[in-house]
């Protein structure tokens, strides 16, 4: 152990900086699994009574039929909710949200977008989020909160009728739930695309560095 300590003291602090602490990585990957199940089964549930003039192709839905999809949805919801609560509480308590996501300045958002479009965006330091990342991560956390609350409003429109009323009633809550899903899926497309374009970010969310 003494050797390790000695080594640590010799290594420059930058090299050992952890970008994503263990709790972020664990909750991230649990969330990936929960979200795949929630979204896939949610699409099958949507298909039983579509809100718009389209349904999701059977090949990308989960559950096979409505009852199966509901079983998946109401099983994965516990994983999603418990994992989400752990993530948000730790994010607040450790100060990670404050440190990583704030401040968000409109001018910096514009500058980041401009840099990205002209291929001048720096990925040197993954431990600091640029303004667009801050905006998107904060946005998807908020969408996550909205999708859980609107989901509860649809699931329990009698026991939680005050919450359902807050969303404008049962039918309106279904639309809110749908658009929160669309927002999150939109985020995922960008998120995954950028993770693939900057592979070391993928390494960071697996190994932490």
């Amino acid at each position: 152990m003494t050797t390790a300590t000695a080594e640590n003291s010799q290594t420059p602090p930058v090299a050992q900086a952890v970008i994503h602490p263990l709790w972020v990585r664990i909750t991230h990957w649990i969330n990936v699994l929960a979200m795949i199940v929630m979204i896939g089964s949610g699409w099958e549930i949507y298909n039983a009574s579509p809100l718009f003039a389209f349904v999701f192709p059977k090949s990308i839905t989960l559950g096979g039929w409505l009852a199966g999809a509901l079983l998946w949805h109401f099983a994965a919801m516990w994983v999603l909710a418990i994992n989400g609560i752990v993530y948000v509480v730790l994010g607040l308590v450790t100060g990670r949200f404050r440190r990583m996501l704030f401040p968000i300045r409109p001018r910096e958002v514009v500058a980041t977008v401009r840099d990205a479009l002209t291929f001048r965006l720096s990925h040197a330091d993954l431990s600091v989020y640029n303004a667009v990342q801050r905006l998107l991560y904060l946005g998807v956390i908020l969408a996550g909160i909205v999708i859980v609350l609107s989901g509860l409003a649809i699931w329990k429109p009698v026991q939680m009728q005050e919450l359902t009323a807050l969303f404008g009633g049962y039918d309106a809550a279904r639309y809110v739930h749908f658009f929160a899903m669309a927002t999150i899926v939109g985020f995922l497309v960008i998120h995954i695309l950028l993770a693939v374009l900057v592979p070391k970010s993928l390494r960071a969310i697996v190994t932490g560095r």
């Binding site: 009574s49 389209f54 559950g63 096979g64 429109p157 009323a165």
Partner: protein
């Protein structure tokens, strides 16, 4: 390939899609895990095939039992479902069943007797005129279908709790079981059976319950999903045994509270 909803005049596209979903052949229904690319991803990420076969279905059903308990715990016997003004009533109120409207069971009013049994004192069957003479209430509440859609309707009938009192039912029993003319059946928990808005319904929109909405009577339960509101009720039993139900036995959540 996405199935695009075609608008056919005179045909309710909502009902069409719904029917298509429900009329899946039984073997397909049982396979909850069929044809899902997302599941491939799940297998990929976890490195194991956790979602193949019976084990996944067993786990899911166990979680569904847990969800029954969670919902029973969440159920507040004094919390009323929201009620609406007459202007909010959905017209026409949708017909919904696992059969077509013209296949709805025809129960003859003449000679009809509601069978009552189980943990009750008075097992004498009930004629319709005697049922109609019971004290009645009207509610305008939202019917929420497990498929997601909802509709507001007006139902009139006797409180199930009042009817159970007249039967001399042992309300310490756990369940009330409904037997229906078309072979449908349904078991509900006693706290829900005793909820003030749980109603043995004889009228829809001020008229004797028409055949399509469940003549001679239905059990209207605004604190539960639509399929937990049995139509064409011909028998009521008070029991300590959960006798399941038509949809529940196929995988739908049993409690299905709102």
């Amino acid at each position: 390939m996405p199935r695009i909803r075609k608008i056919i005049p005179g045909v309710d596209p909502k009902l069409l899609i719904k029917d298509a979903a429900k009329l899946l052949p039984n073997p397909t229904r049982r396979l909850f895990l069929r044809g899902a690319t997302s599941l491939g991803a799940l297998t990929f990420f976890t490195g194991c095939d956790i979602v193949d076969g019976d084990s996944a279905e067993r786990v899911l059903r166990r979680v569904s039992r847990f969800n029954d308990a969670a919902q029973a715990w969440l159920f507040d016997p004094n919390k009323l479902a929201p009620t609406y003004p007459a202007s909010a009533i959905t017209k026409p109120f949708p017909f919904n069943a696992y059969y077509q409207e013209d296949e709805a069971p025809e129960v003859a009013a003449e000679g009809f007797k509601l069978e009552v049994g189980g943990m009750i004192d008075n097992k004498e069957p009930w004629m319709l005129d005697r049922l109609y003479a019971l004290p009645q209430e009207t509610q305008i509440t939202r019917h929420v279908c497990v498929e997601g859609w909802s509709a507001i309707g007006q139902w009139t009938g006797v409180r199930l709790s009042e009817f159970l009192r007249r039967l001399g039912a042992d309300t310490r029993a756990k369940y009330v079981w409904f037997q229906c003319a078309e072979g449908y059946s349904n078991t509900i928990d006693m706290p829900t059976a005793l909820h003030p808005q749980t109603q043995l319904t004889f009228k829809f929109a001020d008229e004797i319950l028409p055949r399509k909405y469940g003549f001679p009577m239905k059990c209207r339960i605004p604190t539960k999903l639509g399929f937990k509101n049995p139509k064409h009720v011909i028998g009521i039993h008070v029991t300590d045994k959960n006798l399941g139900g038509y949809w529940e036995d196929q995988g739908y959540n049993w409690f299905s509270g709102l």
